[in-house]
Assembly symmetry: C2
Homo-oligomer: 294 residues x 2
């Protein structure tokens, strides 16, 4: 038998790019990483063919870097976590199109949670442009939130930015009093009604999220609106954790670009339970591939 039985491939893909790693399995765990590759967007719900092309390119780069025989590629065990894989049908279509005999495809929520906890129990709140919460117990993983900006994604960057701009127009209209932060947001639009209107008619989550760092910074400086928004975000995280059955003291990872910024607005027991994520979604994919490989 070739050495391909001790090798796994992990994949992470989303709207901004994809990453692939080839690793050796040692004692049933992920061992040395032999090769890495990366490529463009790989959300198969957005564009199936582009996602597959980008993944295939990254797979071949990683495999070449690992220096393994080309013929062995299809025989290894592979695991992919990709944004946009919301049902079994999509997972099967992607798995069949990948160059592996044995591959599993899931939504990147699972690989991101598994990467952060490295298989241990605990809760994760990946908070970037969007947001969701998850809790891993012996019974498996339960998710909460992640509905998108129109219905949820509370505490996310898009949500923080949208809440800031909502308050900004209330101040502009004279319904609420201005503060430094609302004035700063208005200055971004040159105090121009038409510009604000054009933005509000067309902006998606990513453009709203561009205002999130302004909120984080203002809150640090003591701005009342910034503080209120960060506190509302933290309250949502606490309420979501409670709904997931979180018990005081359990490991808690607030990951993503914004997650760690909520630490100061959480009650002390949550703050004390916070741990940095053990790894990212690509680490999670390798972990799940290795576990599958036994």
């Amino acid at each position: 038998m070739s050495n391909c039985h001790g090798i796994v491939v992990g994949m992470d893909g989303g709207g901004s790019g994809c990453r692939v790693a080839v690793a050796r399995v040692e004692n049933g765990a992920v061992g040395r990483v032999l090769g890495r590759g990366q490529g463009g967007p790989a959300n198969p719900a957005t564009d199936f063919q582009v996602a597959l092309d980008n993944l295939r390119g990254a797979i071949h780069s990683a495999w070449a870097q690992a220096g393994l025989p080309e013929d062995d590629l299809p025989k290894v065990r592979a695991f992919a976590g990709l944004a946009g894989v919301r049902d079994e049908e999509m997972a099967r279509r992607v798995a069949q199109a990948l160059p592996f005999v044995n591959s599993q495809v899931v939504e990147d929520r699972l690989t991101s949670v598994t990467g952060a906890l490295a298989g241990e129990n605990g809760s994760v709140a990946p908070i970037g442009t969007g947001s969701f919460l998850a809790r891993q117990t012996a019974q498996g993983v339960r998710y909460l939130g992640g509905w998108g900006l129109a219905l949820g994604d509370d505490a996310s960057g898009a949500w923080l930015g949208q809440q800031l701009l909502r308050q900004m127009v209330r101040c502009f209209d004279g319904i609420a009093p201005h503060c430094d932060l609302s004035q700063q947001a208005l200055a971004e639009f040159n105090h121009d009604h038409a510009r604000i209107f054009r933005f509000s008619s067309s902006a998606g989550p990513a453009r709203f999220a561009k205002f999130a760092p302004m909120v984080v910074e203002a809150a640090k400086q003591g701005d009342p609106l910034g503080h209120e928004l960060m506190t509302r975000g933290a309250d949502y995280i606490v309420a979501g954790l409670a709904a997931l059955g979180y018990e005081t003291g359990e490991r808690l990872c607030l990951s993503g670009g914004l997650g760690p910024h909520y630490a100061d607005y959480l009650p002390a027991p949550y703050r004390d339970a916070m741990r940095p994520p053990k790894g990212n979604a690509l680490d999670g994919a390798l972990y799940l591939a290795a576990r599958g490989a036994g």
Copy 2:
């Protein structure tokens, strides 16, 4: 001179259709309506050519019904209030493309306010799929709100529906307790996570607004969530009126499909000041055309 000096044309256009009326001016006011026409969507910001074609068709129907000489059409004074006319440049482009020597084009906000108040002072809250507020005084008209669903349009049908669905997913997630209304909303999605997610990823204001009648009805039946949402909408109207300088007792028109439903949630002095609108946006366009005609 032909009798066209005593004739005016009024136009009202938006995303769902356009209407045109030809009327006689009597003693400087709008007199008998001689002809009416209607047509498809006429929002020039959405599709300029379609808007113009639909308006022209409706103009010629109305003119034919009025039985006036065809040669006189370009000579009459015309006034159009159209959705999507947000700047002078767009107004001029439309005016030049209409078949009148003397036509004025504005956003339909002005014709709708003018129609509701028939030139008198007072405040108007047109609340349908979207919302805005306006106050007419001797100094002119001042507007508030109308930023679109992402940043404002509070109290509107789209806002009511979105708030309902936001609360529904919080109940689904176990963050908030269910009530009859949240259960009813969930039943519309067959309690299916994937359906809710798909809706939230793609729905625009009109689709959110379809849930507004459910909120209005539940509130009437005493549902706590329905009551809370209608009260929050009414609070926004009161705060917006205050910011516009509204004085107790001034004429107040809550128009549009939803406006009148807020009456029960307003403080008594506002309820007592409520008057039905005197006319619609087409009446407003005729009024402004006639006033222009002297």
